[in-house]
Symmetry: D2
Subunit: 273 residues, 4 copies
């Protein structure tokens, strides 16, 4: 059973928590904690050897500062809805892991603003909804909300969803929307970043998975990684290489999120692995 705790830091927190668990006869299988001194915040993730007797969460709240966020036995099988545009690489990786039950979550449905990824979803018996973003994006967002409402869901995963969601939409799902996007050293703003990166002769192509906030592409970072590039790559080659690393980075981010290892505060994350 997993227990996650986030609260103001105090002397003796670890002693209190581990003392309670010992008293209640839980054996700690793994414990990761982190203290952010500058923010005076305490983060902990525990795995214990038996299921809760139901009152553990209440007892933890009695021990901990009043601002404590405590989750005892968070839903171990997350449910997700995936949003896509045209690119298949991240979606296919998610569908494969979902099919073989190694995703740590179950895909409820896929929403795409094109239809080209409908067939791959059908092959895996996953409902696909086509919602075009051609006219007003307000209409499209409302259709998405209606569709989402029909399914239980813990997270929305933007698996190369290339439309901008409004602050109003994003604000409904704080800490619940995960995005993957390309990233470079230096960063390139504006259209066609791969072309810009090619013209600048970058020697790296990267990807960043992050939670979505109102500030586009600027939410708390969950995972990042890069692969090397050189002059022999065209802009199209860089895009291909970018897709490989995007797939890997999103997979890594989803693994730690679904495994309850990610804590959000301010505009950053703690990932307790």
């Amino acid at each position: 059973m997993v227990i996650v705790i986030q609260c103001t830091d105090q002397i003796g927190l670890v002693a209190k928590i581990s003392g309670l668990l010992a008293e209640e006869k839980f054996n700690i299988l793994s414990m990761h904690e982190h203290v952010d001194k500058s923010a005076n915040l305490f983060f902990m993730r525990l795995e214990v050897d038996k299921q809760s007797n139901g009152v553990l969460e209440q007892k933890l709240h009695q021990l901990l500062p009043p601002d404590a966020l405590v989750k005892v036995n968070p839903n171990p099988e997350k449910r997700i809805i995936v949003l896509v545009t045209k690119e298949y690489h991240c979606l296919a990786d998610i569908l494969i892991r979902n099919y073989f039950k190694t995703l740590g979550a179950s895909v409820q449905c896929v929403i795409g603003n094109y239809t080209n990824l409908e067939d791959i979803c059908k092959r895996f018996d996953i409902p696909f909804y086509h919602i075009a973003f051609e006219g007003s994006s307000v209409d499209a967002e409302n259709q998405i909300l209606d569709t989402i409402a029909r399914y239980e869901h813990d997270y929305l995963v933007l698996a190369k969803f290339m439309r901008i969601l409004s602050p109003g939409f994003v604000g409904r799902f704080p800490g619940k929307i995960i995005n993957i996007h390309h990233s470079f050293l230096p960063a390139f703003a504006g259209a066609n970043p791969y072309k810009q990166a090619y013209e600048r002769g970058v020697k790296l192509v990267g990807a960043t998975a992050h939670f979505v906030t109102d500030d586009l592409d600027e939410g708390p970072i969950i995972a990042q990684q890069i692969i090397s590039a050189d002059h022999s790559l065209t802009a199209a080659d860089m895009m291909k290489a970018g897709k490989e690393i995007e797939t890997a980075v999103l997979a890594k981010a989803l693994r730690v999120v679904f495994d309850d290892r990610v804590f959000i505060y301010k505009n950053k994350t703690v990932v307790l692995e």
Copy 2:
């Protein structure tokens, strides 16, 4: 013997060049070439098995388009001047490789705007000049120019030199000043980038070596690399990790530059390894 060629691309360039070399009884030990289709440019680096008979460069120019840049047997032992501020990591790496004759260049002198790195230079018998940047940077730049003028030099290496050189200064050394700086995904402008990176919770710390142009930190990139980071690193830890990767990236960039593997055009490089 090394031969490097950069010119407008044409059909048959490789045939012409390799034909001439065969005719002149040079055996090609290695040949790397690259064509940038979008810029219609041809780049080649050759190693051949004997020294030039002196007329080879002239014969190559007769064969090649009029815009051709040709270097036959470029100075195999570059001479460099290193500029530093307070941080030792890149300078020490250069001094060690210089001492053991594995730098591919010889350090003529070191110029620092603080004095704390004077002793390490003396231990390696390298002249050190202290030129403060306290008053007018015009004066300081003039002192640097006077000092540089006393030494033969192929390149100026900014090994964590934390002062901004004026366009007038930079303009005197086109393609001859090499800089190393931290870099992140996303990029952070302004003061104290490590603090910004920490506050943003980046999962990577990187470094970029590049030629210096008027556009600060924006010249042609020679080498880039990153190391992984996580929430357990403080801003100070990120800076430490950054130093390790800066040292490695600058060493890599110097190796390829001194080995005549780097071609500059537009705002980018081709590195033929």
Copy 3:
């Protein structure tokens, strides 16, 4: 159009080849060559801008040493047969790329010595043959040969096929069988390498893709890569991490093989990228 050449090295080979191409009005789009001095062998891969007029291969043979291997316009769409046991990760990656036509080859059929991967093949309309290795492996190998004979094929891909193929079988497909296997620093022989790696506390988990020869796990290496590990990983975690890197390394190896970038000689490869 791709041209690949492998032959004894001679002075003037590049001049001869590029001269012929210029004469025949081919424009060279990219050219990679390598000379192994110790083996006195020359390797070249060219991309040119038009299809062969049919006599180019013959003219190349007239120019080149008698031992030359020349392929002009090798089949750009390879056909492959995939062999699997129980693990899905490499197979699924191949099936996805095959479905989206980014594999550079087309999967003809899949042969498995268990049945658990039959369903995923069916979802992609790929024939699956169950051939158990329970009794004599001679019988099983004969069944595989019979099955293979029903399909055109350029390569056999062992995508986590955990049975040993006999020298007789392997000898029928020289340079045509590609395998992926785990690998570690140091190497671990015998059963359950992940358990051994765990007990030794390795800090890396790797994977190697290679051509299969009689010497098990010892054929020419095509691609290798690693990911970091530490004490917090159990043997099962190491195996999971190993699967991610196996998938990536096999994908990379297949890309360069299918793109005619890999040359085999002695017990090694040249990969011209």
Copy 4:
């Protein structure tokens, strides 16, 4: 102040330890712990905000199982003796960090079985002893022991020391000798491993830092890393690349050892970072 603990695992250990620290008014700045379930062992490293009142170690022993190894405030400035042969790269890196006080240890002296590294030591005012391994290695080992005896020392660092130390010698310094050696996938036994690696066409060059035990190159691993290689590297190039990664891996290993982050048990390590 650092506290490190290694003992048989029990329910409630974390509660006991953190309870004692809270009672004694220590604030925990960082805490890392690991439990090896298969070995039933508990490992912990703590940083607390004040120095010990002297009785803390005794109180910890009263709390913990009888087999507990406890170090309260281990010597924060380790003293080391470095053994070298001819290669400079690891030694120079250690001398630089030692000079700038970023090594986390102080170099007492250097022992070399050649004299070529004497000058660099003198430039840093570090005593150098030449002890040849030409005749009996028993004599040479005795000379090393005599030399070592003249200095306080916590660790012996074999910084490319290319002689084999006898079991008798090694047995005197259990967990106190750190070695760096090249490593490959697959591993190569015997002489000239870089030549073997070249002939096998490996795509990686690696390095492993480990504690030395009687079993040559087989002690507990502290750190490992690799860099990519390809066919364009000669055996000499691979050796050069190997030196870069050896330097980086030994530096990393020394950092974690000197920072009291490494625990040894069985034939492996736990590194609590």
